[in-house]
Amino acid sequence: MDYLNNIVEDLQAGNAEGVKTNVEQALESGMSADEILQQGMMKAMAVVGEKFKKDEIFVPEVLVAARAMKSGMEILKPVLVDDKVESQGTVLLGTVKGDLHDIGKNLVGMMLEGGGFEVIDMGVDVEAAEFVAKLKEQQADVLAMSALLTTTMPEMKNVIDVLKEEGLRDKVKVIIGGAPVTDDYAEQIEADAYAKDAASAVDKVKEAVAALK
């Protein structure tokens, strides 16, 4: 059986059951978890990301692909931990205080997991103090914040100010995104980068993590 090709195809088609079954069978056949992750799931998500960037597929197709990725990861994650396969880095993710929007944030989270990162999703309406406490606890490499409203966007600056006050600003890369957010705004509030969509968020996080090393 060509498990890896099946995983690549099923994942792109959003077939969560198919991905899960093929991951299970690939493991049973003796394939390593790392190989399944790299050559199956991450390879498929890279294709999904590229197609999304080129407007060949749209948000619904990305979301169902990411969901299929997640179902495969549920099988693979414990094995990866046992095999001591290192993640690409840890990302703390959340929508800022006062903002309840989560679709963009969730999509970023799933794409990052597809890119091999460990994602700690703090949900929506997250206070600056909560981000800081979690950063201290988890020592994440990247803080990724989302805001969909012009009225909640300034909270991103507040979080960065609190990071400075707590002496954490140099220890974590800050990436921001959301409909009203721009490159100019990222520069203005001294974030490290702005990601315009979920696919480019993965690129920005990779760059940020590489810069930390």
Partner: protein, 382 residues
């Protein structure tokens, strides 16, 4: 009673120009310089009235002042004054139970969705529109406008079936359920579509409008004979064409056909939906806030022209660095037949590279400059 002067001549000229554009028999594009925004986005904070969303008298006063000012300053454009009971984008979904909040000095915002299990779609139904607090408020506002002014009254913001359904079940649920429970998503779309048609009919009855006329698509009056409804379809931009064809087109068609046709609005780029828009029954115009993406707008405009569907190019005012070239680029790119251009004056927000940027500018200077540049750019291309 707060009557405006009779702007019969202005309105008659505007109607004729718009009608010619919809018939593709115009030489010049009708232009609208839109300072009568009914929503508060883009308005300077000190100009936002208190209780705009709580007292119809305040809403009436604010809108009448804007409209009066408009007629005085832009006597030769194609805006036709009307009043709008604007209460944000979630009025219909509120009748299904979605909560609406009123932040200070901003437009109303919606709570999160209310349905988290697909089976619950079967039990979903809208409130009686006279009983639901927000729909009842809209109807009372329409009545108040009718009783206290001589202007025509439009319907409240009209989100289409897709956006209304997304507001009710949430984006992720909708997308997953299209994949996992397509029949239930079709049921949801049917319920929302029926409710939308009933809701618009009721408002039109209160406003004394014919079913097949007097629609104002983001403030641009759709001429007689080209339908009586408009819907917002901003979420078209995030859908691929196949899913949109199956889950959206039949329902948009049903709404438009119920009112003798009408228009669809979206923001951004939806060129992947060209064939779907062409297949939408009753579509007479597209209103597109194109975010300065003239290449995509041109592609859409040219495709629509093949079926005599008018294209309304709308955008919020660009930022200073783009102002002088924006209209030149637009008119250089497009054939004016079937083209209407509407510029929305925003003092607190400017359009820059496809995104909105906070700015501070004087509305009158902005309007004068817009008028001058629009006319110059349009007339130099005839």
């Amino acid at each position: 009673m707060k009557n405006l002067k009779n702007y019969k001549d202005h309105n008659h000229r505007a109607r004729e120009k718009l009608k010619n554009a919809f018939k593709f028999s115009n030489q010049k594009s009708p232009l609208l310089i839109y300072n009568a925004n009914y929503w508060l986005f883009g308005e300077a904070e000190d100009k936002i009235p208190k209780n705009y969303f709580h007292e119809p008298a305040v809403m009436l006063e604010y809108q009448l002042n804007k409209i009066t000012e408009h007629y005085a300053k832009y006597p030769d454009d194609c805006y036709i004054g009307f009043l709008m009971p604007w209460y944000g984008t979630g009025v219909l979904s509120s009748s299904f139970g979605v909560g609406v909040n009123y932040p200070e000095k901003a437009d109303p915002v919606l709570d999160l969705f209310i349905i988290d299990e697909p089976e619950k779609i079967k039990d979903l139904k809208p409130d009686d529109f006279y009983e639901n607090p927000l729909t009842a408020k809209v109807l009372k506002t329409i009545d108040y406008f009718k009783e206290n002014s001589n202007l025509p009254v439009g319907v409240t913001d009209c989100q289409g079936p897709l956006t209304t359904a997304l507001q009710i079940v949430g984006y992720e649920n909708y997308i997953y359920w299209m994949h996992d429970y397509p029949d239930l998503i079709h049921l949801l779309m049917e319920k929302v579509t029926e409710a939308l048609i009933d809701w618009v009919k009721l408002q039109k009855k209160h406003a004394g409008q014919p079913l097949d006329g007097e629609a104002y698509i983001l403030g641009v009056r759709i001429p007689e004979g080209f339908g009586g409804v408009w819907i917002s379809d901003d979420d078209s931009v995030i859908f691929g064409s196949e899913l949109y064809r199956e889950f959206v087109v039949p329902y948009n068609s049903k709404v438009l056909k119920a009112f003798g046709g009408g228009g669809i609005h979206y923001c951004g780029k939806a060129t992947q939906q060209i064939d779907n828009y062409l297949a939408t029954e009753g579509l007479t115009c597209i209103h597109n806030m194109m975010l300065d993406d003239i290449a995509s707008a041109l592609k859409m405009k040219n495709a629509l022209a093949e079926k005599n569907i008018a294209y309304i190019a709308g955008d919020f005012s660009p930022t200073e660095d783009r102002f002088d070239t924006y209209f030149k680029d637009l008119f250089s790119a497009m054939d004016q037949s079937g083209l209407i251009v509407s510029s929305y004056l925003t003092t607190a927000v400017g359009l820059k590279k496809g995104e909105y940027k906070a700015v501070t500018r004087d509305q009158h200077k902005l309007g004068e400059k817009t008028r001058e540049l629009m006319i110059e750019a349009r007339d130099s291309r005839i």
